[in-house]
Amino acid sequence: MARNDGKTRIQSKLPATRANKKPRRVLIMVATRKGAWLYHTDATRKTWRADGPHFLGHVLNHLVLDPRDGRTLLAAAKTGHLGPTVFRSTDFGRTWKEAAQSPAFAKAPSGEQGRAVDHTFWLTPGHPSQPGVWYAGTSPQGLFRSEDGGVNWSPFSMVNDDPQYRKWMGTVQDGTPDGPKLHSIIVDPRDPAHLYIGLSGGGVFESTDAGSDWHPLNAGCLATFFPDPEPEFGQDPHCVRMHPLNPDRLYQQNHCGIFRLDRPATRWIDVGGGMPKAVGSIGFPVVLHPRDADTLWVFPMDGSSVWPRTSPGGKPAVFRSTNGGRTWQRQAKGFPAAQGWWTVKRQAMSIDRFDGVGLYFGTTSGEVWASRDEGASWRPIARHLPEIYAVEAA
């Protein structure tokens, strides 16, 4: 299996997709607690055109562009009153059409307590060889699949209803405040049957048969909130990423630190120890350089005492590692030097594919920040939005 231990940028031998082509523009998709906004720019990445709100008043947890066709957008939506649904656009949001069958659990047998999807939390396009296939993760935790571009969704019942798998899933006690989530659905670009998922709480799980069978993949990953700090499952991965050109390299920003895994190994390595002690290694998002598997960024948050989940000390900063997590550098030029108490949620940080990659994130206080020099400097490209749940760059 290929490894990238040095600084050599990886030459892809993976299936070609639009995502691998040289970019000419950037689209930022911002999903918020009260609607969605799209931001367009050209190759200069200097000025941005705002398009929105879409779905004003709807809770949008994720908004994702299909890299395989470059034009299909899926939006995971609900409202305070109405149940969850998925909207689909093939014209960059000029028109939207609702899914015919959005993600929903199987109906429970008579007399049994069934689960109901509260919201779809995560959307992942399928493998390039499977156009039209999408995956969705929900709260309560469930995994769903569409084979027609997001029009109809079916449950992966072996995950959603199997008693063993249900034991892996978080409960109200160890889920996030608005419900346990299935997220970080990852499809190996070399093999459409090789999947990873993250459960908060629950841990990371792997399938090599397109989702029929799953096994925990949590060795080495801490869960200090349990009597056994390294259980087989029960961990809380906040965000898991696979490097797109080196699919053997995984990173996760976890409730208990930052971890790296180089397959075929099955034991995660704690790479958060090099973070400043005053900052710590807790956060939600992690993003990876598209061509360098040793370079990654995190946005730490305060996980001390009662878990304020704010920028540590009120001083927002991104941290970058260029050596696979051994050491970290603070990047905060442009951010408030003090009294900045926002944070960044797990799918609210993203990256483009330009040389001199652009980084983007959205804050809990409704700001979108951008860097076009790999994090060296930052400026806001949008302010005064609702609380931001997701930011995707394409």
Partner: protein, 92 residues
């Protein structure tokens, strides 16, 4: 057939082309579940926004049949009934 008159709240009028009232013709005797099935047949997707996959009325949705709150889909819809769907207070 049994006529049922449905008052559509603002949050569902994107499904009814803006209609505030919809009249249904149901086979008698009809239940609330029958009325919602008919609504969904005419306005696809509407039912799942107010009733979950286990057949329960969603937590922040209330339904009234002739001004009496209906707790489940087995509530009878008498001929001439008025069904009122309401989005209850939710969030800030």
């Amino acid at each position: 057939m049994s006529a049922v008159h449905v008052r559509i709240p603002g949050l569902l009028r994107s499904y009814t082309d803006g209609a505030e009232r919809v009249d249904l013709a149901l086979s008698a005797p009809a239940l609330l579940g029958d009325g919602l099935a008919e609504l969904d047949a005419r306005f696809p997707g509407l039912r799942f926004r107010v009733v979950d996959e286990q057949g329960k009325i969603r937590p922040h949705i209330k339904m009234f049949v002739n001004a009496v709150q209906a707790r489940d889909l087995a509530t009878p819809l008498p001929p001439g009934a008025e069904l009122m769907i309401v989005g209850a207070l939710s969030g800030g």
